[in-house]
């Protein structure tokens, strides 16, 4: 009858016993689902947080860089490693395409993670426990995690964030005791970071510059794309780069340039000016680095040989 007007008296027809039964069951189930979510807030141990701060990408970048600089105890594959105190605030930065820093956490201790993004939306997905959260730029999401099992965890990105999305993977290590650090080769990481050398009045030596450059490389996330081991999937590798002749595209035309100080300065300040052939699809964003930091990076690149 669904194609015609219903038969006379349809509105007053009694609902049959079985249909009535089913509707009652279904309604009870639906109400139970609602109550269940509330009860889980009372008795359950996994509830998304209610704490969010509005921030800006620049502000949060500064905050997380300062945090990492102060707490960095080592480097793992170009990503700084921190070991936060239980119950402390940890600043986790996501950007195309890396998570920073690597965290060493203690089992059964709580950590307040502030998570935000420097560029687009990312997905914070801890594996293998399989917990997934959304990360935005301009929002600082505070999640208080308490790892319940020791082991090595990876943070993968599960929100599409550009062509290098699949390379965005970070690391969290949960230890039960100090011995566990050996499992990850972290036993030699110093407990507290050395304070930065006092600013001298005389200019820094090339070696000091290069060391600072390495720190900039790690903190600003250059290593997400520019590797120093020769692999170059997304961007040119930095080892053996200085002095090399590169094919580039300038104003749509192919030319070649020698990589020198001036070229590096230009490439950081205005990345779209000359694009290296082979990397047209992964354009480099403009990063907030100072002139001083650029000089330090140049010094660092000079030390990287093939």
């Amino acid at each position: 009858m669904s194609l015609f007007s219903p038969a006379e008296g349809w509105y007053d027809k009694k609902v049959s016993k079985d249909e009535k039964m089913w509707m009652v069951i279904a309604l009870v189930l639906c109400i139970m689902l609602f109550v269940w979510m509330i009860m889980w807030h009372v008795y359950g141990k996994q509830n998304p947080s209610n704490i969010t701060y509005r921030t800006s990408t620049a502000e949060f970048s500064k905050l997380s860089e300062a945090y990492t600089k102060q707490n960095m105890i080592g480097v793992d594959n170009g990503i700084p490693v921190v070991r936060p105190q239980p119950n402390s605030d940890v600043f986790v930065m996501s950007e195309m395409w890396r998570w920073s820093p690597v965290m060493i956490l203690q089992k059964d201790q709580s950590y307040k993670m502030h998570i935000s993004s420097k560029d687009v939306v990312h997905g914070f997905s801890i594996q293998p426990v399989n917990m997934n959260f959304q990360v935005y730029p301009q929002y600082d999401y505070v999640l208080e995690f308490k790892p319940t099992e020791a082991g090595e965890y990876k943070v993968i990105c599960n929100e599409f964030c550009g062509i290098g999305h699949h390379t965005m993977i970070g690391k969290i290590v949960v230890i039960g005791n100090e011995e566990d650090l050996k499992l990850y080769g972290y036993e030699n990481f110093k407990k507290a970071p050395d304070p930065l050398p006092e600013k001298k009045n005389e200019p820094l030596t090339e070696t000091e510059m290069a060391l600072l450059g390495e720190q900039v490389y790690t903190l600003k996330g250059c290593g997400a794309c520019h590797k120093t081991d020769g692999s170059s999937q997304i961007a040119p590798a930095w080892n053996g780069l200085f002095g090399k002749e590169e094919e580039v595209i300038e104003n749509g035309k192919k030319t070649s340039v020698v990589v020198d100080e001036a070229y590096i300065r230009e490439s950081i300040k205005n990345p779209q000016q000359k694009i290296t052939v082979g990397f047209e699809n992964t354009p480099m964003p403009v990063f907030p680095v100072t002139d001083e930091e650029i000089e330090q990076l140049i010094a660092y690149i000079k030390t990287l040989k093939n």
């Binding site: 009858m1 669904s2 015609f4 007007s5 219903p6 349809w10 509105y11 609902v15 049959s16 079985d18 249909e19 089913w22 509707m23 279904a26 639906c30 109400i31 689902l33 609602f34 979510m37 509330i38 807030h41 359950g44 141990k45 996994q46 998304p48 209610n50 793992d76 990503i79 939306v121 997905s125 801890i126 594996q127 293998p128 426990v129 399989n130 917990m131 997934n132 959260f133 959304q134 935005y136 730029p137 301009q138 929002y139 999401y141 999640l143 995690f145 319940t148 099992e149 990876k154 599960n158 929100e159 599409f160 964030c161 999305h165 699949h166 390379t167 965005m168 993977i169 692999s231 997304i234």
Partner: protein, 555 residues
């Protein structure tokens, strides 16, 4: 200008018929584009083949999403809306010229967006979360399409007005058209959300607006993305009732209940986008819990009411035809040779058991933590939109070919098993994606070996089995869709003409005889089936909460 259908006796407005035909043809074209991309995507994610490069993988995910979820479904729904508001009501099309303008806008939108995507200017996924930015013409294409669709929905209401004024139907609107009306009302809400978000985003891509808040974008975008799925549900359920009538002469055992359930869809979906923000910053738990459920999940209740009302309309009619033995003779003696009927039954099973169960569980605040953005999410909506909506649309097309296109179905033997093959294919695809997602595999991800990253991660080795299963299911579904498209295209363009009732290959059943008044259960078989469904749901429910309880603590 009308013709009177010699098979159904309906008065068919020729202008309307033409509009239905053209919209349906573009639906099929969109589906072909969507599944062509889909098979390439399946063989990219299946790591041993890893067919496409990263660039084309993401490009085609965008392309597939837009063509499958937007173009195919909405073109078909517009055809359905025109059918339900003119042919079924014996009435004329209110403004055919505007109908063609709507159609032209939608086609222009489809062409423009697709070209921009294929040119590589819009690798942003269907969701295009800001600050990812596409070429302005991409957003413009979607806006054009949405404006066209909105115009078409307005014309639907115009047709209803004419039918009402000219008293073209009795006192009460037929249930099928009533269901479509709820779909159309939801469509207005949905398309308004779409305008609200795509117009500023378009201006932003032109540089006229400096910042689109990413959380605000996601909230409003899903007002389009999720609510539009409720259009599909309402349209699909309306077709289920229609096929019950066409195939066995069945009718809802209580129309008041069915109609109330449709109204619940409208009243309780408004903030469906909450389901997509459950693990997001910016909104509180109270907001999430309230807006996913409005205290009692009445939109879910609506679907559960239909889950009883639709099968019971089959059962009740079959029993009145004399198939009254035991609990399930009504099912075993059902017209399984009718591909529209088998499509609908399979769509109901898939929608309920795969799409429905996972949808409710994944849409709860806390359990969302273990599935958010994993491949379980597309796995879930393969169960709703593909097995549910797409298979339903495929099924009803077997009636549209003879009745609207006036052609016989070429390869009717193939048509009989096509729904089964499609069901098995998508069920395999969907279930394996859900399992993969529960093991943490992300969606929209080119390389699950993380090549080029600073670290790597190996998923549970069991994933290999489910990847293979997914590849197999995807291939089956792709092939059966091709079979369907071939049947439709060959029949419509080259099939023999239908000259009268004797050319109908699918039976149109007369109304089932009136029942003798009786007390007790009207559809005991259906009650048993729905209880089985309930038990499956509860099993999956507790399993997911157990998995959640095993994760780290977080608050």
């Amino acid at each position: 200008m009308f013709r009177t259908c010699d098979i159904t006796g309906f008065k068919v407005d020729l202008q309307s018929e033409k509009l239905i035909r053209y919209n349906a043809v573009f639906a099929v074209i969109s589906l072909l584009l969507a599944v062509t991309a889909a098979i390439l995507l399946v063989f990219t994610r299946y790591q041993p083949v890893h067919l496409l490069g990263a660039e084309w993988y993401y490009r085609l995910v965008t392309f597939h999403g837009l063509n499958a979820l937007i173009f195919w479904i909405i073109f078909f729904e517009i055809a359905g809306l025109y059918f339900g508001s003119t042919v079924v009501l014996n009435t004329r099309f209110c403004a055919p010229r505007l109908g063609w303008i709507a159609f032209a806008l939608m086609v222009a939108g489809l062409v423009l967006s697709n070209i921009i995507i294929l040119m590589g200017k819009a690798d942003v996924m269907l969701t295009s979360y800001t600050p990812l930015k596409a070429h302005p013409l991409y957003y413009l294409g979607i806006i054009l399409f949405a404006v066209g669709a909105l115009l078409a929905v307005i014309l639907f209401f115009g047709n209803l007005m004419i039918a009402r004024r000219e008293k073209a139907y009795g006192d009460t609107m037929p249930l099928f058209t009533y269901g479509l009306t709820t779909a159309a009302i939801i469509a207005v809400i949905t398309l308004a959300s779409g305008a609200l978000i795509y117009i500023p985003t378009f201006l932003w891509s032109l540089g006229l607006i400096s910042n689109i808040d990413p959380a605000m974008y996601k909230l409003i975008w899903w007002g389009l993305g999720h609510s539009s799925q409720q259009i599909n549900v309402a349209a699909m359920v309306s077709i289920w009732y229609m096929v019950s009538f066409l195939a066995v002469g069945g009718t809802s055992i209580n129309e008041r209940v069915s109609r109330t359930a449709f109204v619940l869809y409208i009243l309780f979906i408004c903030l469906a986008s909450a389901h997509h923000l459950l693990t997001d910053p910016g909104v509180s738990s109270a907001w999430k819990v309230w807006n996913t459920s409005y205290a009692m999940y009445l939109a879910v209740l609506a679907s559960m009411i239909h889950a009883f009302a639709v099968p019971s309309s089959f059962e009740s009619a079959q029993r009145r035809w004399g198939y009254n033995k035991g609990l399930f003779q009504w099912l075993s003696k059902a017209p399984w040779g009718n591909p529209a009927f088998s499509s609908i039954i399979l769509a109901i099973i898939g929608f309920g058991f795969i799409g429905g169960t996972t949808g409710v569980i994944f849409g709860m605040e806390q359990t969302n933590i273990i599935v958010h953005n994993t491949i379980a999410i597309p796995g879930h909506f393969k169960g709703t939109v593909v097995i549910g909506t797409t298979l339903t649309f495929m099924g009803i097309t077997y009636y549209l070919i003879p009745l609207i296109f006036r052609r016989k179905i070429v390869g009717f033997g193939w048509a009989k098993w096509q729904p089964w093959m499609f069901f098995v294919g998508i069920a395999l695809l969907s279930i394996s994606m859900i399992v993969l997602g529960q093991m943490g595999v992300p969606r929209r991800h080119w390389d699950s070996t993380f090549s080029g990253g600073p670290f790597t991660y190996n998923f549970n080795p069991a994933v290999d089995f489910f990847w293979a299963l997914m590849m197999l299911g995807g291939t089956l579904a792709f092939l059966s869709t091709l079979v369907w498209i071939l049947i439709v295209v060959i029949s419509v363009f080259f099939g023999p003409k239908v000259n009268g009732p004797e050319d109908m290959q699918l039976a149109i059943s007369p109304l089932a005889p009136q029942a003798k008044a009786h007390k007790g259960f009207e559809a005991p078989g259906t009650l048993v089936l729905t209880i089985i469904f309930l038990l499956v749901f509860l099993a999956l429910f507790f399993l997911n909460w157990k998995w959640l309880a095993a994760t780290w603590n977080v608050n």
